[in-house]
Amino acid sequence: MDSWILTLVIFWPLAGALLLLIPRRGDDVAVRNGALFVSVFGFVLTVAAVVQFNRETAGGVSADGFALAAHVPWIVSGDQESATVDIAYRVGVDAISIWLLALTALLSPLAVWSSFTAIRTRVREYYILLLLLQVGLLGVFCARDLLLFYVFFEFTLIPLFFLIGIWGGSERRRAANKFFIYTLAGSVLTFAGIIYVACFAYGATGGTLTLNLATLTELGQGGDIPANVQWWLFLAFAAGFAIKVPLFPFHTWLPLAHTEAPTAGSVILAGVLLKLGTYGFCRLSIPILPDASFELAPVVAVVAIIGIIYTALAAWVQKDVKKLVAYSSVSHLGFCMLGLFSLKVAGVSGGVLYMVNHGLSTGALFLVIGCIYERYHTRNIDEFGGLARKMPWLAFFLVFFTLSSIGLPGLNGFVGEFLVLLGAATSAGTRDGLAPGPLGYGYVIPAALGIILSAVYMLWMCQRVLFGPLKEPPDTPDTSTGLTQDLTRREITILAPIALCCVVLGVYPAPVLNQFEVAIRQNILRSPASMMHTEIGPPDQGFFDVGVESSVSKQTLSTEFDAVVATGPGSRPALNDDPPSVSTVTTARLDGRNTPFETDASMATDSSATDVIGFNGGSGYER
């Protein structure tokens, strides 16, 4: 049965953009407020979608794991019963999509609101483009048809091109062009790959040229795509996605685009747009091309690690604070890729959570930097100092999001980072009931070095900007547009919800992670059952269960999911309040001093404990 809510969520900003044409010329206030209303209402709609998603999936997920589906034929040929071409407007969400959707919808009003004072020319066009960008981003996460995915994926280029090119910094036109052409150059190869997949599906499905992701995933997971075809397709997909992520060495467009983009553009770019690349890997490459993903995972991981280290070093030496955050962004997304390509439940859920976390904390960092830039009209670190004395609120948020970004335990960044490293380290194991993954400890050590570097340059940046003797550029701060010395109430209201999300996800990520695991097992990773064509047994073992051999030999896996992460002393039933799955879950508490490796080792030796790592933010870490 079709559900209209996703369509509404996707296209509401488009309708809103048209509404913005109504105010008279020059009535900027109405345009601003209208844009804010549209994006807030879009967020409300998304919340409604999330609620409905949770309700629909509460009693067990639908057959293909996607809820809120809708389907409208688009490119169709042949009779209805024997359609030879079946490309449609298909939308639907699983847990991964819905949370990225929520992230997008949360950042949208904040981005709009943050532009109220910063954007003073061509106001109407600006907000229309910002809303159009939302359409593309929301659409990508909902698309269940590969061509539709690509349509939204590509469409995002147009509004962002204009956003950077019109309202950007001094080198805006070069940045906009470079951004557009660079990303397009990669994604045309993805386009070729997509078309090839369609034509391949025609042969494999017996005469239907389809780009339905469900069908394609089935083909991929069922091993119907030959290895050499998978290789080529993987490379074609990676061409587009790696540039979008961006993976080293394709990241050079990003610092320029970020530096030149207006604040809201940077927020959306870092917060959501980069996720299109990782989401593409996660949603397309890994499920549809499992063999190639497995074989090429070490390559991707090595490239990701080189990127982590290289861009961390590059970030270290940046003088422009925005560029510094941009490089940190590249570095952090390397972790995300590492997690995804561990091809384990822990790593992939870590990677997906990392996408959300990175969206929150880096998006917020760009907002804070936007606040600084609006006041001082420079982003050069050398020109500031000791701002904390004059701007305590700003200092609080900057430090807070820096800590979130570098993975302070208790904040969201840590959970994702930990799971990513755990996933990569235990990739070769089979503890989660899946086949051994391609990575191992060797990949974790250099990546962990990246974490240290990240702490170094981020904290150093904070220190130079906020602490020490007060230093301000001459004739600043500029309060001519109604700004105050410290953050205004509007700016605090923009940053506070993000901070709240950071804390919530850091302290209590279990519900989200539980949903992720269900989605990952169903839609992303190839289950041994589908490879070996055996029945999936009842869930009797947890993910971190130590009885590895037995769980695998019995060919069981916890489809219902027991609990990756439960909180506090009381264990938490996984996805829902379904009592049977609770029985196997007991609690293990993480010692705060444990490094990820130690944690893993301690768990491996503790044969009595079942799953569960506690992220209770408080007591677990204070010892």
Binding site: Y150, F191, Y196, A198, C199
Partner: protein, 564 residues
């Protein structure tokens, strides 16, 4: 078949012919300007009437074949898009030359459209040649008339001389084909079966080969393929923008339809040499077009090179050829037909946008003149950007679907197809090229929106050109969201070509039987050349008796039941 049937079935062509003459006469009445100024309205009416007649007549069932012609579903499709885009062309050219020349001018447009329609119906080498020339000759006049400017005359003369040379090459090639086939007829219609006279298959001799190469060369000029593309930039630059919009579509459509006709008569069993030649031409055409496009600062020259590049993409689909029953995603010719229609609209839109305003007394041509136009003429600039992004092949515009269709037709070739590998390589060259092309299309969009403008911009051309421009850009969105109508028509248009090279599927075969029965009942006379003589060896005879269903009408139900 009697003459009345022919006249009825050729209604759209006759309406255009009479209408063109009427417009010529109306325009010639210089005494009273009141009458002369209605010639655009009359032209629009004539084209609309012809379009209406086309829709009224529906898809020809393939049994009507006036001497030298054969009305098929391809005819229908061509009428549909030529007249549909023709309406837009008339709108865009509404105010073009000075008032006293408008009658001649618009009648030339109508004659040119008539040539396209006849090309699609031609079933005889000579008729094909005349039809293609009927497309070209009025365009020489159009360019010269388009504005009172030395550059227009220069462009017309250049185009004329080179066009005459191309016509000579084409005629020479056709004479070789005649020599090889022994007849000028392309398809000999028998009782329910069609013999394609050029279907030599693997036994194609040198004569036919030379003929094919020369014909391709002659038509390469019409479609602006390398190496016969050199005129394009100069001519596009010299002619007024509204005419340039026409030049990008009408000759190209005619050239491609003629190629489809000739290759169809060969049943797409092209010799390796021809395949490779077209391959190289396609690859070089798109690369040259896009690379040279990067170097331009004049928007019209830029779009001229883009026109060349698009020819390259379309050649990919042409090489793939028709595949039975799959629609544009797999059928190369259907993809080509879809693409050329979409290209016609988006190209026309881009030129219409350039024609819609004047900067310091002259039409907009260079990037500098276009700078910051969005602040002065926001709607026209928006329409321009829509068309430019569509040309770039970015969703959500129809140009993107055109690319999907063209490239997918290459990727979807059967494993057994001998030329599959090279064609896939060509498609990959194509997608890479579309990324290169983005660079110069982006410059147009960026110039219009991101640069500052201080001087005034005057709108010109009145409301018709604005309407034409608006329709072009809206069509880009509509065809993206709802491609099915046009795609199904494109698919139907290739039905006549299907039986020639691929095994038909079960449904198709049923329909063919149906047709045969119907034709037996109708005891239709055979209008084809009964004096047809088979040249060559025994083997050739076998090759030539391959039958093709005359099945367009009968296939209609299977293809039109595509309900959502």
């Amino acid at each position: 078949m009697n003459v009345e049937t022919y006249l009825v079935q050729l209604g759209p062509e006759l309406i255009l012919l009479l209408g063109a003459c009427a417009v010529l006469v109306v325009g010639a009445t210089k005494a009273s300007h009141g009458i002369a100024s209605i010639s655009p309205a009359v032209s629009l009416f004539v084209v609309a009437l012809a379009l209406l007649a086309t829709l009224r007549l529906g898809v020809p069932d393939g049994t009507v074949a006036p001497p030298g012609l054969w009305l098929t579903s391809l005819t229908f499709y061509t009428r549909l898009i030529a007249l549909g885009v023709g309406l837009l062309i008339v709108l865009v050219n509404w105010h073009q030359p000075v008032a006293r020349e408008r009658g001649e001018y618009l009648s030339m447009i109508l004659f040119s459209l008539l040539g396209v329609l006849l090309t699609a119906s031609a079933n005889d080498l000579l008729v094909l040649f005349f039809a293609v020339e009927l497309v070209s000759i009025p365009t020489y006049v159009l360019i010269a008339l388009s504005r009172e400017d030395g550059r227009a005359s220069e462009a017309a003369v250049k185009y004329f001389f080179l066009g005459a040379m191309a016509a000579a090459i084409l005629a020479y090639g056709l004479s070789f084909l005649y020599g090889a086939a022994g007849t000028t007829t392309l398809h000999v219609l028998g009782d329910g079966a069609v013999r394609s006279t050029l279907a030599f298959g693997s036994s194609m001799g040198g004569t036919a080969l030379v003929g094919l190469l020369l014909v391709f060369a002659g038509l390469a000029f019409k479609i602006a393929a390398v190496p016969l593309h050199v005129y394009a930039a100069d001519v596009y630059e010299g002619a007024a923008s509204p005419v340039t919009g026409l030049l990008g579509f009408v000759p190209k459509l005619a050239g491609f339809i003629a190629l489809v006709k000739i290759f169809g008569a060969c049943q797409w069993e092209l010799p390796v040499a021809v395949n490779w030649m077209v391959w190289v031409v396609a690859a070089v055409t798109m690369t040259t077009g896009n690379v040279l496009g990067l170097l331009q600062t004049n928007v019209k020259r830029m779009l001229a090179y883009s026109s060349i590049a698009h020819t390259g993409y379309m050649l990919i689909a042409l090489m793939v050829g028709p595949v039975a029953g799959q629609g544009p995603m797999r059928d190369g010719v259907a993809a080509l037909l879809f693409y050329v229609a979409v290209y016609g609209v988006m190209n026309l839109g881009a030129f219409a946008a350039l024609a819609a305003f004047k900067v310091s007394g002259r039409a907009v041509e260079t990037l500098d003149e276009l700078a910051g136009i969005a602040s002065r003429a926001p709607l026209a600039a928006f329409a321009l950007v829509v068309c430019v992004f569509s040309l770039m092949g970015i969703p959500p515009f129809a140009g993107f679907l055109g690319k999907v269709y063209v490239f997918s037709s290459a990727f979807s070739l059967d494993q057994s197809h001998a030329f599959r590998g090279p064609l896939i390589a060509l498609a990959v060259i194509g997608v890479v090229n579309s990324a290169i092309a983005a660079a110069y299309y982006l410059r147009i969009a960026a110039t219009a929106y991101m640069r500052k403008r201080t001087d005034e911009v005057l709108p010109t051309g009145g409301s018709p050109i604005r309407w034409g421009l608006a329709l072009c850009s809206v069509l880009m969105l509509v065809l993206f969201a709802w491609p099915r109508g046009l795609a199904n028509e494109a698919r139907n248009a290739t039905v006549v070509l299907h039986g020639s090279i691929r095994p038909v599927d079960a449904r198709l075969t049923m329909s063919i039987d149906d047709t045969l029965e119907r034709q037996v009942q109708a005891t239709g006379s055979n209008p084809a050349d009964s004096g047809f003589r088979l040249p060559g060896s025994e083997q050739t005879v076998e090759q030539m008796t391959t039958t093709t269903p005359v099945a367009s009408r009968a296939l209609k139900p299977t293809t039109h039941s595509d309900q959502p």
